[in-house]
Protein backbone atom coordinates (compact mmCIF):
# COMPACT_ATOMS: atom_id res chain seq x y z
CA UNK A 1 0.00 0.00 0.00
CA UNK A 2 2.85 2.29 0.86
CA UNK A 3 4.35 1.52 -2.50
CA UNK A 4 1.13 2.40 -4.34
CA UNK A 5 0.55 5.55 -2.30
CA UNK A 6 4.11 6.70 -3.10
CA UNK A 7 3.40 6.68 -6.86
CA UNK A 8 2.45 9.95 -8.43
CA UNK A 9 -0.44 8.68 -10.60
CA UNK A 10 -1.14 12.02 -12.19
CA UNK A 11 2.37 12.04 -13.67
CA UNK A 12 2.18 8.40 -14.78
CA UNK A 13 -1.23 8.50 -16.45
CA UNK A 14 -0.55 10.93 -19.22
CA UNK A 15 -2.01 10.98 -22.70
CA UNK A 16 1.37 9.98 -24.12
CA UNK A 17 1.67 6.96 -21.82
CA UNK A 18 -1.88 5.86 -22.55
CA UNK A 19 -1.18 6.09 -26.31
CA UNK A 20 2.01 4.05 -25.85
CA UNK A 21 0.12 1.41 -23.87
CA UNK A 22 -2.56 1.18 -26.57
CA UNK A 23 0.13 0.83 -29.27
CA UNK A 24 1.84 -1.97 -27.27
CA UNK A 25 -1.45 -3.83 -26.83
CA UNK A 26 -2.28 -3.42 -30.52
CA UNK A 27 1.23 -4.54 -31.52
CA UNK A 28 1.07 -7.63 -29.36
CA UNK A 29 -2.61 -8.36 -30.02
CA UNK A 30 -2.30 -8.14 -33.81
CA UNK A 31 1.40 -8.85 -34.28
CA UNK A 32 1.63 -12.39 -32.94
CA UNK A 33 -1.58 -13.73 -34.56
CA UNK A 34 -0.46 -12.11 -37.85
CA UNK A 35 2.98 -13.69 -37.50
CA UNK A 36 1.47 -17.11 -36.85
CA UNK A 37 -0.85 -16.65 -39.85
CA UNK A 38 2.10 -15.74 -42.09
CA UNK A 39 4.06 -18.75 -40.83
CA UNK A 40 1.13 -21.07 -41.62
CA UNK A 41 0.71 -19.57 -45.10
CA UNK A 42 4.41 -19.84 -45.87
CA UNK A 43 4.46 -23.38 -44.45
CA UNK A 44 1.70 -24.45 -46.82
CA UNK A 45 3.39 -22.73 -49.78
CA UNK A 46 6.81 -24.31 -49.21
CA UNK A 47 5.56 -27.75 -48.15
CA UNK A 48 5.31 -29.10 -51.69
CA UNK A 49 8.49 -27.50 -53.04
CA UNK A 50 10.93 -28.23 -50.21
CA UNK A 51 11.80 -31.14 -47.94
CA UNK A 52 10.01 -31.30 -44.54
CA UNK A 53 13.22 -30.17 -42.83
CA UNK A 54 13.72 -27.16 -45.11
CA UNK A 55 10.08 -26.05 -44.77
CA UNK A 56 10.31 -26.40 -40.97
CA UNK A 57 13.50 -24.28 -40.94
CA UNK A 58 11.89 -21.60 -43.11
CA UNK A 59 8.85 -21.47 -40.82
CA UNK A 60 10.95 -21.28 -37.67
CA UNK A 61 13.22 -18.63 -39.21
CA UNK A 62 10.26 -16.43 -40.05
CA UNK A 63 8.70 -16.95 -36.61
CA UNK A 64 11.86 -16.16 -34.62
CA UNK A 65 12.81 -13.14 -36.80
CA UNK A 66 9.25 -11.78 -36.58
CA UNK A 67 9.16 -12.33 -32.82
CA UNK A 68 12.44 -10.43 -32.31
CA UNK A 69 11.16 -7.52 -34.44
CA UNK A 70 7.90 -7.47 -32.48
CA UNK A 71 9.67 -7.47 -29.10
CA UNK A 72 12.02 -4.67 -30.23
CA UNK A 73 9.03 -2.62 -31.43
CA UNK A 74 7.19 -3.19 -28.13
CA UNK A 75 10.24 -2.16 -26.08
CA UNK A 76 10.67 0.92 -28.27
CA UNK A 77 7.02 1.86 -27.71
CA UNK A 78 7.52 1.44 -23.96
CA UNK A 79 10.27 4.01 -24.07
CA UNK A 80 13.32 1.80 -23.69
CA UNK A 81 16.46 3.06 -25.37
CA UNK A 82 17.54 0.25 -27.71
CA UNK A 83 21.24 1.18 -27.83
CA UNK A 84 21.55 0.89 -24.06
CA UNK A 85 19.48 -2.28 -24.12
CA UNK A 86 21.67 -3.88 -26.81
CA UNK A 87 24.79 -2.91 -24.87
CA UNK A 88 23.40 -4.48 -21.73
CA UNK A 89 22.38 -7.52 -23.75
CA UNK A 90 25.97 -7.86 -25.02
CA UNK A 91 27.40 -7.84 -21.50
CA UNK A 92 24.69 -10.16 -20.30
CA UNK A 93 25.34 -12.38 -23.33
CA UNK A 94 28.98 -12.88 -22.35
CA UNK A 95 28.00 -13.72 -18.78
CA UNK A 96 25.27 -16.09 -19.91
CA UNK A 97 27.63 -17.60 -22.48
CA UNK A 98 30.14 -18.56 -19.81
CA UNK A 99 27.39 -19.93 -17.64
CA UNK A 100 25.80 -21.97 -20.40
CA UNK A 101 28.63 -23.50 -22.36
CA UNK A 102 26.71 -26.74 -22.99
CA UNK A 103 23.79 -24.89 -24.53
CA UNK A 104 26.09 -22.84 -26.75
CA UNK A 105 27.89 -26.01 -27.79
CA UNK A 106 24.54 -27.58 -28.64
CA UNK A 107 23.52 -24.53 -30.69
CA UNK A 108 26.75 -24.58 -32.68
CA UNK A 109 26.46 -28.36 -33.13
CA UNK A 110 22.90 -27.79 -34.35
CA UNK A 111 24.14 -25.34 -36.97
CA UNK A 112 26.67 -27.93 -38.15
CA UNK A 113 23.97 -30.61 -38.30
CA UNK A 114 21.75 -28.37 -40.38
CA UNK A 115 24.52 -27.46 -42.82
CA UNK A 116 26.03 -30.97 -43.06
CA UNK A 117 22.63 -32.70 -43.44
CA UNK A 118 23.52 -36.21 -42.24
CA UNK A 119 19.77 -36.74 -41.84
CA UNK A 120 16.54 -34.88 -42.43
CA UNK A 121 13.12 -34.71 -40.77
CA UNK A 122 11.36 -38.03 -41.41
CA UNK A 123 14.54 -40.14 -41.72
CA UNK A 124 14.96 -43.24 -39.57
CA UNK A 125 18.25 -42.94 -37.69
CA UNK A 126 20.17 -44.94 -35.10
CA UNK A 127 22.18 -43.24 -32.37
CA UNK A 128 23.89 -45.66 -29.98
CA UNK A 129 21.05 -48.05 -29.06
CA UNK A 130 18.26 -45.63 -29.93
CA UNK A 131 16.46 -46.01 -33.23
CA UNK A 132 13.70 -43.64 -34.35
CA UNK A 133 12.26 -41.25 -36.91
CA UNK A 134 13.51 -37.67 -36.81
CA UNK A 135 10.64 -35.44 -35.66
CA UNK A 136 12.53 -32.15 -35.57
CA UNK A 137 16.02 -30.70 -35.71
CA UNK A 138 16.08 -27.81 -33.26
CA UNK A 139 18.78 -25.46 -32.07
CA UNK A 140 19.56 -27.45 -28.93
CA UNK A 141 18.46 -30.99 -29.70
CA UNK A 142 17.07 -33.48 -32.18
CA UNK A 143 13.78 -35.14 -31.29
CA UNK A 144 13.20 -38.74 -32.32
CA UNK A 145 10.03 -40.78 -32.29
CA UNK A 146 11.08 -44.35 -31.56
CA UNK A 147 9.44 -47.32 -33.24
CA UNK A 148 7.45 -48.04 -30.04
CA UNK A 149 6.17 -44.44 -30.06
CA UNK A 150 8.33 -42.77 -27.44
CA UNK A 151 9.90 -39.34 -27.70
CA UNK A 152 13.66 -39.22 -27.33
CA UNK A 153 15.55 -35.92 -27.09
CA UNK A 154 19.18 -36.13 -28.13
CA UNK A 155 21.42 -33.07 -27.54
CA UNK A 156 23.02 -31.86 -30.78
CA UNK A 157 26.47 -32.04 -29.21
CA UNK A 158 26.25 -35.80 -28.72
CA UNK A 159 25.07 -36.25 -32.32
CA UNK A 160 28.16 -34.43 -33.55
CA UNK A 161 30.47 -36.50 -31.31
CA UNK A 162 28.91 -39.95 -31.79
CA UNK A 163 28.29 -42.21 -34.73
CA UNK A 164 24.89 -41.71 -36.33
CA UNK A 165 23.46 -44.24 -38.80
CA UNK A 166 20.87 -42.99 -41.27
CA UNK A 167 18.91 -46.13 -42.05
CA UNK A 168 16.55 -44.70 -44.65
CA UNK A 169 18.84 -42.30 -46.52
CA UNK A 170 18.87 -44.40 -49.70
CA UNK A 171 15.75 -45.81 -51.36
CA UNK A 172 16.80 -49.47 -51.20
CA UNK A 173 18.56 -51.51 -48.53
CA UNK A 174 20.08 -54.96 -48.11
CA UNK A 175 18.85 -57.41 -45.50
CA UNK A 176 21.54 -59.86 -44.36
CA UNK A 177 20.63 -63.19 -42.79
CA UNK A 178 23.24 -65.54 -41.36
CA UNK A 179 22.16 -69.14 -41.79
CA UNK A 180 23.81 -72.34 -40.61
CA UNK A 181 23.00 -75.78 -42.06
CA UNK A 182 24.19 -79.21 -40.97
CA UNK A 183 27.47 -80.55 -42.36
CA UNK A 184 25.65 -83.39 -44.14
CA UNK A 185 23.65 -80.98 -46.35
CA UNK A 186 24.24 -80.42 -50.08
CA UNK A 187 25.68 -76.90 -50.45
CA UNK A 188 24.34 -76.48 -54.02
CA UNK A 189 20.84 -77.44 -52.89
CA UNK A 190 20.95 -74.92 -50.03
CA UNK A 191 22.03 -72.22 -52.47
CA UNK A 192 19.27 -73.13 -54.97
CA UNK A 193 16.57 -73.14 -52.28
CA UNK A 194 17.64 -69.77 -50.90
CA UNK A 195 17.71 -68.15 -54.35
CA UNK A 196 14.29 -69.62 -55.08
CA UNK A 197 12.93 -68.11 -51.86
CA UNK A 198 14.24 -64.69 -52.94
CA UNK A 199 12.81 -65.11 -56.44
CA UNK A 200 9.31 -65.89 -55.18
CA UNK A 201 9.15 -63.35 -52.37
CA UNK A 202 7.29 -60.23 -53.58
CA UNK A 203 9.36 -57.91 -51.38
CA UNK A 204 12.78 -59.09 -52.62
CA UNK A 205 14.09 -57.08 -55.53
CA UNK A 206 15.24 -58.99 -58.62
CA UNK A 207 18.03 -56.47 -58.99
CA UNK A 208 20.41 -55.89 -57.28
CA UNK A 209 20.53 -59.67 -57.31
CA UNK A 210 20.17 -61.66 -54.07
CA UNK A 211 23.42 -63.01 -52.73
CA UNK A 212 24.24 -66.40 -51.19
CA UNK A 213 27.75 -66.52 -49.76
CA UNK A 214 29.34 -69.63 -48.24
CA UNK A 215 31.00 -67.97 -45.28
CA UNK A 216 32.65 -70.55 -43.12
CA UNK A 217 33.02 -74.10 -41.82
CA UNK A 218 31.59 -73.29 -38.39
CA UNK A 219 31.79 -75.26 -35.14
CA UNK A 220 28.35 -76.74 -35.53
CA UNK A 221 27.24 -75.77 -39.04
CA UNK A 222 28.15 -74.71 -42.54
CA UNK A 223 27.64 -70.96 -42.35
CA UNK A 224 25.99 -68.97 -45.16
CA UNK A 225 25.18 -65.31 -45.69
CA UNK A 226 21.87 -64.80 -47.48
CA UNK A 227 21.46 -61.14 -48.54
CA UNK A 228 18.41 -59.74 -50.30
CA UNK A 229 17.67 -56.20 -51.46
CA UNK A 230 14.37 -54.49 -50.72
CA UNK A 231 12.66 -51.10 -50.86
CA UNK A 232 13.20 -49.34 -47.52
CA UNK A 233 9.49 -49.15 -46.73
CA UNK A 234 9.08 -52.94 -46.98
CA UNK A 235 11.48 -53.85 -44.17
CA UNK A 236 9.07 -55.46 -41.71
CA UNK A 237 7.09 -57.28 -44.41
CA UNK A 238 10.29 -58.61 -45.96
CA UNK A 239 11.88 -59.65 -42.67
CA UNK A 240 8.81 -61.56 -41.50
CA UNK A 241 8.10 -63.26 -44.80
CA UNK A 242 11.67 -64.25 -45.69
CA UNK A 243 12.49 -65.67 -42.26
CA UNK A 244 9.28 -67.70 -42.24
CA UNK A 245 9.82 -68.94 -45.79
CA UNK A 246 13.38 -70.06 -45.01
CA UNK A 247 12.17 -72.15 -42.08
CA UNK A 248 9.26 -73.61 -44.03
CA UNK A 249 11.29 -74.40 -47.14
CA UNK A 250 14.16 -75.91 -45.19
CA UNK A 251 11.68 -78.12 -43.31
CA UNK A 252 10.03 -79.13 -46.59
CA UNK A 253 13.34 -79.87 -48.31
CA UNK A 254 14.72 -81.71 -45.28
CA UNK A 255 17.57 -79.26 -44.75
CA UNK A 256 18.64 -79.30 -41.12
CA UNK A 257 19.35 -76.08 -39.23
CA UNK A 258 21.56 -77.41 -36.42
CA UNK A 259 21.77 -76.07 -32.90
CA UNK A 260 25.27 -75.61 -31.41
CA UNK A 261 26.66 -79.00 -30.37
CA UNK A 262 29.96 -80.58 -29.31
CA UNK A 263 31.37 -83.90 -30.61
CA UNK A 264 33.79 -85.76 -28.39
CA UNK A 265 36.52 -87.57 -30.39
CA UNK A 266 37.89 -90.75 -28.91
CA UNK A 267 40.96 -91.07 -31.12
CA UNK A 268 39.51 -93.48 -33.67
CA UNK A 269 37.26 -92.71 -36.67
CA UNK A 270 35.26 -95.92 -36.79
CA UNK A 271 35.18 -97.29 -33.34
CA UNK A 272 32.41 -96.19 -31.00
CA UNK A 273 33.08 -94.22 -27.89
CA UNK A 274 34.16 -96.77 -25.28
CA UNK A 275 31.65 -96.98 -22.52
CA UNK A 276 31.92 -99.21 -19.51
CA UNK A 277 28.88 -99.96 -17.44
CA UNK A 278 29.88 -99.98 -13.80
CA UNK A 279 27.46 -101.62 -11.31
CA UNK A 280 26.45 -99.25 -8.59
CA UNK A 281 27.79 -100.03 -5.17
CA UNK A 282 25.12 -100.33 -2.53
CA UNK A 283 25.81 -98.19 0.48
CA UNK A 284 26.76 -100.17 3.50
CA UNK A 285 24.67 -99.36 6.54
CA UNK A 286 26.65 -97.57 9.18
CA UNK A 287 27.45 -99.49 12.25
CA UNK A 288 25.82 -98.08 15.31
CA UNK A 289 28.14 -96.55 17.86
Amino acid sequence: MLLLTGINWSKLITTENINSAIRVIVLLGLGFPLLLFICTLVGKAVKKRFTPQASMLIQKGIFYSGSILLIISVLYQMGFKLTALLGAAGIAGIAIGFASQTSVSNIISGLFLISEKPFEVGDLIKVDDTKGNVLSIDLLSVKLRTLDNQLVRIPNESLIKNQVTNITRFPIRRFDINIGVAYKEDVSKVRTVLLDIAKNNPYCLDEPEPLVLFLNFGDSALEFLFAVWFVKTDFFKLRNSVMQEIKERFDAEGIEIPFPHLTLYTGSVTEPFPLEIVPSKAKKPKKPG
Binding site: I172, E207, W229
Partner: protein, 266 residues
Protein backbone atom coordinates in the same frame (compact mmCIF):
# COMPACT_ATOMS: atom_id res chain seq x y z
CA UNK B 1 -18.34 -62.40 -76.84
CA UNK B 2 -14.91 -61.95 -78.49
CA UNK B 3 -11.66 -61.85 -76.64
CA UNK B 4 -11.41 -58.07 -76.84
CA UNK B 5 -15.10 -57.31 -76.18
CA UNK B 6 -14.52 -57.64 -72.48
CA UNK B 7 -14.01 -53.92 -72.02
CA UNK B 8 -17.67 -53.08 -72.72
CA UNK B 9 -20.08 -51.69 -70.15
CA UNK B 10 -22.39 -54.04 -68.27
CA UNK B 11 -25.54 -53.45 -66.28
CA UNK B 12 -25.82 -54.79 -62.75
CA UNK B 13 -29.13 -54.98 -60.86
CA UNK B 14 -29.66 -55.04 -57.14
CA UNK B 15 -28.95 -58.51 -55.75
CA UNK B 16 -27.20 -59.57 -58.94
CA UNK B 17 -23.68 -61.02 -59.14
CA UNK B 18 -21.43 -60.47 -62.18
CA UNK B 19 -18.13 -62.10 -62.92
CA UNK B 20 -15.42 -61.06 -65.35
CA UNK B 21 -12.27 -62.92 -66.30
CA UNK B 22 -9.18 -61.22 -67.69
CA UNK B 23 -6.61 -63.97 -68.11
CA UNK B 24 -5.66 -65.26 -64.66
CA UNK B 25 -7.68 -62.56 -62.85
CA UNK B 26 -11.30 -63.13 -61.85
CA UNK B 27 -13.33 -60.06 -60.86
CA UNK B 28 -16.59 -60.38 -58.96
CA UNK B 29 -19.26 -57.67 -58.66
CA UNK B 30 -22.24 -57.73 -56.31
CA UNK B 31 -24.84 -54.96 -56.05
CA UNK B 32 -26.77 -54.65 -52.79
CA UNK B 33 -29.09 -51.60 -52.73
CA UNK B 34 -26.78 -48.56 -52.97
CA UNK B 35 -23.56 -50.51 -52.45
CA UNK B 36 -21.33 -52.19 -55.00
CA UNK B 37 -19.15 -54.98 -53.67
CA UNK B 38 -16.03 -55.97 -55.59
CA UNK B 39 -13.76 -58.96 -55.06
CA UNK B 40 -11.00 -60.51 -57.06
CA UNK B 41 -9.06 -63.74 -57.12
CA UNK B 42 -6.12 -65.03 -59.10
CA UNK B 43 -6.01 -68.40 -60.80
CA UNK B 44 -2.95 -70.63 -60.47
CA UNK B 45 -0.43 -70.95 -63.33
CA UNK B 46 -1.17 -67.46 -64.64
CA UNK B 47 1.12 -67.62 -67.67
CA UNK B 48 -0.98 -70.27 -69.39
CA UNK B 49 -4.43 -68.70 -68.98
CA UNK B 50 -5.64 -66.55 -71.88
CA UNK B 51 -9.43 -66.75 -71.36
CA UNK B 52 -11.37 -63.51 -71.08
CA UNK B 53 -14.99 -62.56 -70.49
CA UNK B 54 -16.60 -59.22 -69.73
CA UNK B 55 -18.76 -58.73 -66.61
CA UNK B 56 -21.60 -61.20 -67.03
CA UNK B 57 -24.23 -62.60 -64.68
CA UNK B 58 -23.52 -65.81 -62.83
CA UNK B 59 -26.46 -67.74 -61.49
CA UNK B 60 -26.00 -68.83 -57.93
CA UNK B 61 -22.27 -69.39 -58.38
CA UNK B 62 -20.20 -67.57 -55.86
CA UNK B 63 -16.63 -68.39 -55.14
CA UNK B 64 -16.14 -69.08 -51.47
CA UNK B 65 -13.70 -67.15 -49.36
CA UNK B 66 -13.76 -64.00 -51.46
CA UNK B 67 -12.49 -60.86 -49.80
CA UNK B 68 -15.16 -58.31 -50.76
CA UNK B 69 -14.61 -54.54 -50.72
CA UNK B 70 -17.61 -52.17 -50.42
CA UNK B 71 -18.25 -48.96 -52.37
CA UNK B 72 -21.28 -46.73 -51.72
CA UNK B 73 -22.23 -45.85 -55.29
CA UNK B 74 -25.93 -45.01 -55.07
CA UNK B 75 -28.99 -47.10 -55.85
CA UNK B 76 -29.45 -45.70 -59.39
CA UNK B 77 -25.85 -46.24 -60.49
CA UNK B 78 -25.83 -49.64 -62.14
CA UNK B 79 -23.32 -49.58 -65.03
CA UNK B 80 -20.04 -51.36 -64.41
CA UNK B 81 -17.03 -51.23 -66.72
CA UNK B 82 -13.52 -52.65 -66.60
CA UNK B 83 -10.74 -51.05 -68.61
CA UNK B 84 -7.11 -51.98 -69.21
CA UNK B 85 -4.45 -49.56 -68.05
CA UNK B 86 -0.69 -49.80 -67.99
CA UNK B 87 1.12 -50.59 -64.69
CA UNK B 88 1.80 -47.76 -62.26
CA UNK B 89 5.60 -48.05 -62.41
CA UNK B 90 8.15 -48.55 -65.20
CA UNK B 91 8.69 -52.12 -66.36
CA UNK B 92 12.20 -53.51 -66.77
CA UNK B 93 12.12 -56.04 -69.58
CA UNK B 94 14.71 -58.82 -69.55
CA UNK B 95 14.96 -60.44 -72.99
CA UNK B 96 15.35 -64.21 -72.65
CA UNK B 97 18.42 -63.96 -74.86
CA UNK B 98 20.64 -60.85 -74.72
CA UNK B 99 20.24 -58.71 -77.84
CA UNK B 100 23.09 -56.88 -79.58
CA UNK B 101 22.56 -53.96 -81.96
CA UNK B 102 25.60 -52.84 -83.96
CA UNK B 103 26.36 -49.15 -84.27
CA UNK B 104 24.05 -47.20 -86.59
CA UNK B 105 21.36 -49.93 -86.65
CA UNK B 106 17.83 -50.02 -85.28
CA UNK B 107 15.47 -52.81 -84.29
CA UNK B 108 11.77 -53.09 -83.49
CA UNK B 109 10.63 -55.34 -80.64
CA UNK B 110 7.14 -56.26 -79.50
CA UNK B 111 7.01 -56.45 -75.73
CA UNK B 112 3.95 -58.02 -74.16
CA UNK B 113 3.17 -56.25 -70.86
CA UNK B 114 0.54 -57.51 -68.36
CA UNK B 115 -2.05 -54.78 -67.89
CA UNK B 116 -3.82 -53.53 -64.79
CA UNK B 117 -7.61 -53.49 -64.67
CA UNK B 118 -9.42 -50.31 -63.70
CA UNK B 119 -13.00 -50.69 -62.45
CA UNK B 120 -15.39 -47.84 -63.19
CA UNK B 121 -19.02 -47.25 -62.36
CA UNK B 122 -21.58 -44.91 -63.91
CA UNK B 123 -22.75 -44.11 -67.41
CA UNK B 124 -22.14 -40.48 -68.34
CA UNK B 125 -19.19 -39.63 -66.16
CA UNK B 126 -17.83 -42.96 -64.93
CA UNK B 127 -16.11 -42.87 -61.55
CA UNK B 128 -12.99 -44.92 -60.93
CA UNK B 129 -13.39 -47.31 -58.00
CA UNK B 130 -10.22 -49.38 -57.92
CA UNK B 131 -7.34 -50.82 -59.90
CA UNK B 132 -5.84 -54.26 -59.75
CA UNK B 133 -2.93 -55.85 -61.63
CA UNK B 134 -3.81 -58.88 -63.73
CA UNK B 135 -0.46 -60.43 -62.87
CA UNK B 136 1.69 -59.56 -59.86
CA UNK B 137 5.15 -58.79 -61.20
CA UNK B 138 8.18 -58.89 -58.97
CA UNK B 139 9.92 -55.66 -58.03
CA UNK B 140 13.29 -54.64 -59.32
CA UNK B 141 15.58 -51.65 -59.15
CA UNK B 142 16.80 -49.87 -62.26
CA UNK B 143 19.86 -47.69 -61.94
CA UNK B 144 22.13 -46.70 -59.13
CA UNK B 145 21.23 -47.96 -55.60
CA UNK B 146 21.34 -44.36 -54.36
CA UNK B 147 19.24 -42.70 -57.03
CA UNK B 148 17.64 -45.33 -59.26
CA UNK B 149 14.00 -46.16 -59.72
CA UNK B 150 11.68 -48.86 -58.42
CA UNK B 151 10.27 -50.86 -61.34
CA UNK B 152 8.47 -54.08 -62.14
CA UNK B 153 10.50 -56.91 -63.58
CA UNK B 154 9.35 -58.81 -66.66
CA UNK B 155 10.94 -61.65 -68.61
CA UNK B 156 10.12 -61.34 -72.29
CA UNK B 157 10.93 -63.03 -75.53
CA UNK B 158 11.09 -59.55 -77.10
CA UNK B 159 9.62 -60.80 -80.37
CA UNK B 160 10.56 -59.22 -83.67
CA UNK B 161 7.38 -60.24 -85.50
CA UNK B 162 3.87 -59.60 -84.23
CA UNK B 163 2.42 -62.58 -86.09
CA UNK B 164 4.46 -64.81 -83.78
CA UNK B 165 2.72 -63.64 -80.66
CA UNK B 166 -0.34 -65.32 -79.27
CA UNK B 167 -3.42 -63.24 -78.52
CA UNK B 168 -3.64 -62.56 -74.82
CA UNK B 169 -6.30 -60.09 -73.65
CA UNK B 170 -4.56 -59.60 -70.32
CA UNK B 171 -1.44 -58.21 -71.98
CA UNK B 172 -0.83 -55.14 -74.12
CA UNK B 173 1.69 -55.26 -76.93
CA UNK B 174 4.14 -52.37 -76.75
CA UNK B 175 6.17 -51.70 -79.91
CA UNK B 176 9.65 -50.59 -78.85
CA UNK B 177 12.07 -49.35 -81.49
CA UNK B 178 15.71 -49.11 -80.41
CA UNK B 179 18.22 -47.06 -82.37
CA UNK B 180 21.91 -47.30 -81.69
CA UNK B 181 23.45 -43.92 -82.50
CA UNK B 182 26.51 -44.55 -80.34
CA UNK B 183 29.93 -45.40 -81.75
CA UNK B 184 29.92 -48.86 -80.14
CA UNK B 185 27.78 -51.99 -80.26
CA UNK B 186 24.78 -51.90 -77.93
CA UNK B 187 24.40 -54.97 -75.71
CA UNK B 188 20.90 -55.07 -74.27
CA UNK B 189 20.45 -57.18 -71.17
CA UNK B 190 17.50 -55.24 -69.86
CA UNK B 191 15.28 -52.46 -71.04
CA UNK B 192 13.30 -50.01 -68.92
CA UNK B 193 9.94 -49.10 -70.48
CA UNK B 194 8.27 -46.13 -68.81
CA UNK B 195 4.77 -47.52 -69.22
CA UNK B 196 3.12 -44.72 -67.23
CA UNK B 197 3.40 -42.62 -70.41
CA UNK B 198 1.59 -45.21 -72.57
CA UNK B 199 -2.03 -45.30 -73.73
CA UNK B 200 -3.89 -48.53 -74.44
CA UNK B 201 -5.76 -49.26 -77.65
CA UNK B 202 -8.09 -52.03 -78.66
CA UNK B 203 -6.76 -53.83 -81.72
CA UNK B 204 -8.19 -56.53 -83.95
CA UNK B 205 -6.48 -59.33 -82.04
CA UNK B 206 -4.42 -57.67 -79.33
CA UNK B 207 -4.38 -54.82 -76.90
CA UNK B 208 -1.83 -52.23 -78.01
CA UNK B 209 0.07 -49.28 -76.65
CA UNK B 210 1.54 -46.37 -78.55
CA UNK B 211 5.02 -46.89 -79.98
CA UNK B 212 8.17 -46.04 -78.04
CA UNK B 213 11.43 -45.11 -79.75
CA UNK B 214 14.59 -45.23 -77.67
CA UNK B 215 17.75 -43.74 -79.10
CA UNK B 216 20.95 -44.87 -77.45
CA UNK B 217 23.70 -42.26 -77.72
CA UNK B 218 26.42 -43.76 -75.56
CA UNK B 219 27.06 -44.74 -71.94
CA UNK B 220 27.92 -41.21 -70.92
CA UNK B 221 24.73 -39.69 -72.35
CA UNK B 222 21.10 -40.18 -71.38
CA UNK B 223 18.97 -42.04 -73.91
CA UNK B 224 16.37 -40.13 -75.91
CA UNK B 225 12.86 -41.53 -75.57
CA UNK B 226 9.99 -40.62 -77.90
CA UNK B 227 6.41 -41.65 -77.17
CA UNK B 228 4.39 -41.63 -80.37
CA UNK B 229 1.03 -39.94 -80.23
CA UNK B 230 -0.23 -41.98 -83.16
CA UNK B 231 -2.03 -45.27 -82.94
CA UNK B 232 0.16 -48.29 -83.61
CA UNK B 233 -0.15 -49.46 -87.21
CA UNK B 234 0.58 -53.17 -86.94
CA UNK B 235 -3.04 -54.32 -87.15
CA UNK B 236 -6.43 -52.56 -87.45
CA UNK B 237 -6.83 -50.46 -84.32
CA UNK B 238 -10.15 -49.53 -82.71
CA UNK B 239 -10.79 -47.00 -80.00
CA UNK B 240 -8.38 -45.81 -77.35
CA UNK B 241 -9.35 -47.63 -74.18
CA UNK B 242 -7.39 -45.65 -71.63
CA UNK B 243 -5.25 -42.56 -71.45
CA UNK B 244 -1.69 -42.71 -70.14
CA UNK B 245 -1.29 -42.35 -66.36
CA UNK B 246 1.23 -39.57 -66.92
CA UNK B 247 0.68 -38.17 -70.42
CA UNK B 248 3.79 -36.76 -72.02
CA UNK B 249 4.20 -34.68 -75.16
CA UNK B 250 7.88 -33.93 -75.47
CA UNK B 251 10.85 -36.18 -75.87
CA UNK B 252 12.40 -37.13 -72.57
CA UNK B 253 15.98 -37.96 -71.78
CA UNK B 254 16.45 -40.94 -69.51
CA UNK B 255 18.65 -43.95 -69.15
CA UNK B 256 16.59 -46.86 -70.42
CA UNK B 257 19.00 -49.51 -71.49
CA UNK B 258 21.02 -51.73 -69.21
CA UNK B 259 23.97 -53.21 -70.99
CA UNK B 260 26.52 -55.62 -69.59
CA UNK B 261 28.96 -52.80 -68.97
CA UNK B 262 26.39 -50.80 -67.03
CA UNK B 263 25.50 -53.75 -64.81
CA UNK B 264 28.96 -54.97 -64.02
CA UNK B 265 30.65 -51.59 -63.92
CA UNK B 266 33.50 -52.89 -66.08
Amino acid sequence: MGALDIWNRSKIGSGEILRSQIGPLLLWFRKIEDELHIAFERLPEPDTIVDATGPSAVNGVESEGLDWGRWIVGAETNIVQVLPIMPDRPVVVHPELPVNIPTGREALFFVSIPVWVRVLIGEKKPIELCEVPVLILSNTWFGDPMSGQLCYSLRSRARRQIKDSETNPSRAVCPVKIRNNSPRQLDIERLCVHVVHLKTYSGDKNLWTNEVTITFRGDDQAGKIDYSNKRPAFEPIGEMLSEARAPIKDTILKRSIGSFRLISGM
